[in-house]
Assembly symmetry: D2
Amino acid sequence: MLKVAVVGASGYTGVELLRILHCHPEAAVTCITSEQSAGKPVSDLFPSLRGRYAQVLENLEPVRVAEKADIIFTALPHKAAMEVVPTFLKLGKRVIDLSADYRFNDAATYEQWYEPHMNPHLLPKAVYGLPEVRRVAVKGAKLVANPGCYPTSVILGLQPLLKHKLIDTTGIISDSASGVSGAGRGAKVDNLYCEVNEGFKAYGVGGVHRHTPEMEQELSLLAEERITITFTPHLVPMDRGILSTIYGRLLAPATTAELAGLYAEFYGGEPFVRVLPAGDVPSTAHVRGSNFCDIGVVVDQRTGRVIVVSAIDNLVKGASGQAVQNMNIMCGLPEGLGLEGLALVP
Amino acid sequence: MLKVAVVGASGYTGVELLRILHCHPEAAVTCITSEQSAGKPVSDLFPSLRGRYAQVLENLEPVRVAEKADIIFTALPHKAAMEVVPTFLKLGKRVIDLSADYRFNDAATYEQWYEPHMNPHLLPKAVYGLPEVRRVAVKGAKLVANPGCYPTSVILGLQPLLKHKLIDTTGIISDSASGVSGAGRGAKVDNLYCEVNEGFKAYGVGGVHRHTPEMEQELSLLAEERITITFTPHLVPMDRGILSTIYGRLLAPATTAELAGLYAEFYGGEPFVRVLPAGDVPSTAHVRGSNFCDIGVVVDQRTGRVIVVSAIDNLVKGASGQAVQNMNIMCGLPEGLGLEGLALVP
Amino acid sequence: MLKVAVVGASGYTGVELLRILHCHPEAAVTCITSEQSAGKPVSDLFPSLRGRYAQVLENLEPVRVAEKADIIFTALPHKAAMEVVPTFLKLGKRVIDLSADYRFNDAATYEQWYEPHMNPHLLPKAVYGLPEVRRVAVKGAKLVANPGCYPTSVILGLQPLLKHKLIDTTGIISDSASGVSGAGRGAKVDNLYCEVNEGFKAYGVGGVHRHTPEMEQELSLLAEERITITFTPHLVPMDRGILSTIYGRLLAPATTAELAGLYAEFYGGEPFVRVLPAGDVPSTAHVRGSNFCDIGVVVDQRTGRVIVVSAIDNLVKGASGQAVQNMNIMCGLPEGLGLEGLALVP
Amino acid sequence: MLKVAVVGASGYTGVELLRILHCHPEAAVTCITSEQSAGKPVSDLFPSLRGRYAQVLENLEPVRVAEKADIIFTALPHKAAMEVVPTFLKLGKRVIDLSADYRFNDAATYEQWYEPHMNPHLLPKAVYGLPEVRRVAVKGAKLVANPGCYPTSVILGLQPLLKHKLIDTTGIISDSASGVSGAGRGAKVDNLYCEVNEGFKAYGVGGVHRHTPEMEQELSLLAEERITITFTPHLVPMDRGILSTIYGRLLAPATTAELAGLYAEFYGGEPFVRVLPAGDVPSTAHVRGSNFCDIGVVVDQRTGRVIVVSAIDNLVKGASGQAVQNMNIMCGLPEGLGLEGLALVP
């Protein structure tokens, strides 16, 4: 039985880790921390856990946490994660970090979009944990940087097209939309029910969202050339889900059936990527609460464009589920352990 | 491994059974029927099942169904269930019926609120399957009548008060509210998104909702006297959840702490009833997708009334989860097998 | 043209006043204040006002405000309203206060439920502004205390029964539910989209909600005897709307048709109360954005109870619309001026 | 006082016309038809109208309708509108048709995307009623083809760029999203609350949505060259609103400030187009229930693309509000009469 710590459990990715790990047959949560709620039973913060999690939230004292756990999930804001991860590594623990702090190969990019990096020497050792792209590297990693939610949907959506060099890499657009849980659990007027409900809007328009360089890093590696994309996130009045509608110009004519076939073959062995039949496109509703990424691909013959639509649950495949998938891989467990929950429909 | 059939899988309780059973380690779904969609892959109807359920929906031919399964869930509209259950029983199969057809001890009551009963002789053999009330009887049952969603919330909410004879049985009111999935998956204007969203209403006002006699039967048995209640259901713009706010006049003074303590003791050994700390009342959000019934109890000292608030997920503890709980009991399995999923929060 | 000030415009009742007054042919908004956003254009705070409100939010300096306006709406938190109202009155202005500060006839009641009252001498001069109960007094008032949202729905729902002495006044229960805008626009975790969405809960259970004494004051006056009620508020995942389901024991037998007739007659001349045909009950959806109070009444013959269901928009008839209705009455304008907007459906 | 008929009032655009016209000071609704509900009071169908619309729904007998009205709104499904419009015109009535039947200059295009056209001779006489594009033609029109909801948002969003020839016309993409009322009021499983709620999806992907040729016709006229676009609609779990996020490649460098300035100037005199300050992008929440089109424009300097975001209420500026705006223009009334209602916030 793996001993697992969840560091920073007062947010939505934290409680989602606890939800998933409760049904994981080979993991036991032995430590849960929260700076703002230390001393309270975790079920006071999240009554959904009542009766199943008796733990009290602890302060984040890295040495004590490390004593209690074999593997540590850091579900902290960026910067806070950056600070604490090296200690865990030094103490010989494996870490899966859900923040952006260790996702970049290049400290300069991180610093351009975030802030000064305290531990640039760790970046080469961190593995960007998207199993469908680099499963082998994850297996041997001590530090996994768990991908962002939008990047997960966009990279999985584009991977087959880029690997097969089927699209013009200069004109990629991803028009993406997320449920509100992606905005976190902080007390902000902008995220109040009445501010968000019954409205739909774009934000971070014009290439300013911090997930942009993360996507570009990974897409460039897949394409073996430098890629710049246009990415526009939107906010949807729903709790969970990300849908990315991705546009690319085909370099050569192709049909929807051909591309759907190519995708099905590419992802044929993947346990958590489902390629839809030719012509179908996914809904976030069908992945809500599950670890699946559903992908549909359609060619617009009138314009020579391919449109890829990919759907995930931002808190599962886009965060905590993917983190557990990475844990399974790192620890030699069956990759899908604890992740077989199907979407809650309706 | 139990072989299980889901008969009538095109509605929300059907797909919910499939969702739950997918993670049940001792049950395999061997047959799925749907009259209206026979011949189609079940994942065409419910894309959430794609990649995990390869089955094609079958016609409801009772003998063929019975050949394939040890235990049969009938998730049919009332009357349709009534017709087919006897055949399954004759063929030696155990049946858990999610309709109202076998819930009444007395055919006359059924006929007053529904329609003529074809098999009144089976009523005495059917067990009203609320494990927290009659677990032993469920264990030996061949036919379990799975309780209605509203009655589950109301009966569990009132049981301790009635068993301890603490309230005036003539003045009970349950003001209950349900998410929209309780209205089923039929194509009706009234259940369109735009008709339901952003509105709250009562319906079936004045003692006309069909769950009323079902509650009264069970509450009367608990109280050992004939009980008539005032029950008003409401419709909430959300997918899942039932909250019942139940009012009773205390026969003798009591404090919130005393009654919360009494409830905690009463349900202390129950795996799926969570009594909240004194003064807290539940939200459906904390049971969404789970098999829990959360209960809070408060005394209004100004009026001498006790107010019990109970929350369930109408599709889980109010239908398919409770059905699986009954299956586990009937088959001698650990009662919580496959039912440990915590609420999807948020 | 009336010159109108809206004092405290950064909350939902403030912006709702601005929305309504924009279409009022005899009122011009000449001053808008907000302590937290003074100096900003009001359309920065509420982009819905862009192009129609050019005003900049001002600090709350009572004398300057009074110079600019004939009539003043105070949409402040309680206590803040209490402080500022006397100055406006001294300067000869008429005031419509949307807080609770001047709603009670008796300072002791206010102090028991809120806090010490600074201006108890003004209480006898303030008129509780429910036009359907005391239109004449409103006409002559200098200070109108605009009723709370829950009380509006409950008092209008019960008035005919109490005036006709048809129910036992000792056993009244109001089970009410509100949309989230009733919780205000403060940045609190509890009111975040993901905390509220897809859940339904009770709060303030057991006679502790501050609207309880307000209802009791008015119901007692109508009944000409002291009334204590059981009131349980609930939170509905929707922006707007209050539905009260009110239970009373009939003193003598009556039919639904008789009571529906009595209500129709009672409210026959009221421009903003709509009594539904016998057997129908209202939905908040049909009053959303409008100043109507819709009422349905049903008798449960099995239990001898009458169930009254009343629906309002908490921000319109429950706050800002009623305030404008009071303004019209106070100023001798047609009562419905600017209030004829029908519900936004869907 | 204009006498107005609303033909086909059982859908959402029909009831929205009635809502708007109720507050129009120069129009009186003298006839309301509905084939499926003829004989019923319109307030039975839409209780929001109770107390203000006493009319009974009539059968659609064109001659009788024409006798009662000066101007006729046809809010019928396509084909049904096509059939009845010529009769109204022959009888000398002016018609505003909310269907697609008279929107195309070219019968061949209509027939390719819809079905055979019965009255191609009327197409040259019909005016595509987007006031911000062809106000003068609307003024003299006998038959106005009221634009589709998506086209309204896209054409208004692109007009300044195309008129100033600032973008490559071969690479335009509109990624648009609509609330559920756009899908109509028919009883379909796909539009049930539980099917739509808490999900986000694309539909009509790959250039197959019928609004595509309508946009292309109008965009081509603006650009004075043939334009083919990539258009992907999405469905948002909310009642009302369309947001279009539109991508174009700039032919020459430009800044966000320059383009925002250009838009502000272009639409400076328009009563219902609001250009946001440079850098801001709109939300559908701020136009909900209003006749505004809010537009924001941003340049992505990294990719040389301009992103235009435009927001409307699909039932108001995207349908019934625009129809009333056209009526005002046709009848020489102030263009904004009856349309000054601000968005319902929240």
